[in-house]
Subunit: 217 residues, 2 copies
DNA sequence: CCTCCATATTTCCAATGTAAATTTTTCTTC
DNA sequence: GAAGAAAAATTTACATTGGAAATATGGAGG
């Protein structure tokens, strides 16, 4: 029972404070320089204090990545609701995806680098799936994803996801050079292909695809 | 003056041996576990010996990434030469891209993670560009990249690159689950969109890609 | 007030990357 | 060929890191 909304045991809500401090350190110093000790020092506790709340450094990074996925989803959702289903909504979601990645590059890389976190963490998986679902739902409203499309819905989703994710990654890593003001050279709607299918694929339809499961549920 | 074809100073060609050992350590233990000391130990020299040949750990990783880009290019080029320009050649190049990524996941991640290497290294930049050029050249032979395509050649290249790269990344990170035998759920030619352009983009353009939108019009 | 227990600290340790000084081997020059 | 110069590699040392173990702290419930 908390007497105030802040003070609890010794520090207060150290768990949340560590995640917040970790995110700040992350964008300030970069993924290579975040350390348990620097994060703990920022909060003002000893470097072993996080042990009571997280499973080591990777546990803390996992919580940070989970928070990242939630923000990521929110960033996509932001523009989605303003547009009716269709191309405009797709663009809005993709722009959100890209915007988040470019504004939080270190966090974005952390989210998608399994070596830094505990990939089988339940909260992380759930947040990751929720984030992906925003994109997925938008894609399902498009005409090139109508029932009967070869490969089923997974193919369309992953095609779209791969494109957006790859574009974000290449921009973050500097493989594709950005404009002087930091903007990508092409907007999402400019770099979005029609996502139609090559004639030979259409002709051979229906193709049997079966292995289309992801995290499930 | 080398008395034999390899023996030079004390060890011989330590520089190449370190790169080779580093690549072995990389795929065996993963990117998080490679260390200067473990690589040096594998070669049988002290942990400070690499200092004479590389600029610290990042220098060594840079050399490894450079080697990775060369192999990457070779893997793409392998299938390209067997096919005439067109969709088949595109598939071959993309399959090479993907195959390399899935067979050398740790090296692939190293290549595209600027924080681990010295991004402004000349050899690295050149090898990276050479690798990209394989994909670029193939893309330029396609009909949806003919002169007049909106956005110019860069747009087409980056659209294609983003898709392949994103698919590879999502597979490596486990975001898109692979088959039990390790194969991706969709082959490259299955997940390749027509890369035509959305109507609102192409309507005022001379060269739309025919058959881009499946079944509807 | 007193005990319990989650929380946090202190202390310690192995591993890492890097720098400096030193030793060993090879090359160059006479 | 010998001596000195240069290159290569080792030894030693150090600051940082993540983590383990033992200890101290302070609020909750009796």
């Amino acid at each position: 029972m908390l007497k105030e909304n802040r003070k609890k045991y010794h520090h207060g809500d150290l768990k949340a404070a560590l995640v917040e401090a970790g995110l700040a350190e992350l964008e300030e110093k970069g993924l290579e320089s975040v350390s348990l000790r620097s994060i703990a020092a920022r909060v003002g506790v000893s470097h072993t204090a996080p042990k009571n709340h997280f499973d080591g450094l990777r546990g803390l990074l996992t919580a940070m990545a989970t928070d990242g996925f939630r923000r990521h989803a929110a960033e996509m959702q932001r523009g989605v609701e303003d547009h009716p289903p269709g191309k405009a909504r797709l663009d809005a979601a993709c722009n959100g995806y890209l915007r988040f990645a470019l504004e939080n590059p270190e966090l974005f890389k952390l989210m998608f680098t399994s070596r830094f976190h505990l990939s089988d963490d339940d909260a992380l998986k759930q947040a990751g799936w929720a984030s992906y679902s925003v994109l997925r739902d938008v894609a399902h409203g498009l005409d090139w994803d109508k029932a009967g499309a070869p490969g089923g819905p997974w193919r369309t989703e992953w095609m779209l996801w791969s494109l957006v994710h790859g574009y974000a990654m290449l921009l973050i890593d500097g493989e594709i050079r950005r404009e002087d003001d930091g903007a990508p050279p092409f907007r999402m709607d400019e770099i979005m292909p029609g996502f139609g299918y090559f004639p030979d694929v259409i002709d051979n339809r229906p193709k049997p695809f079966q292995g289309q499961r992801r995290g499930e549920d």
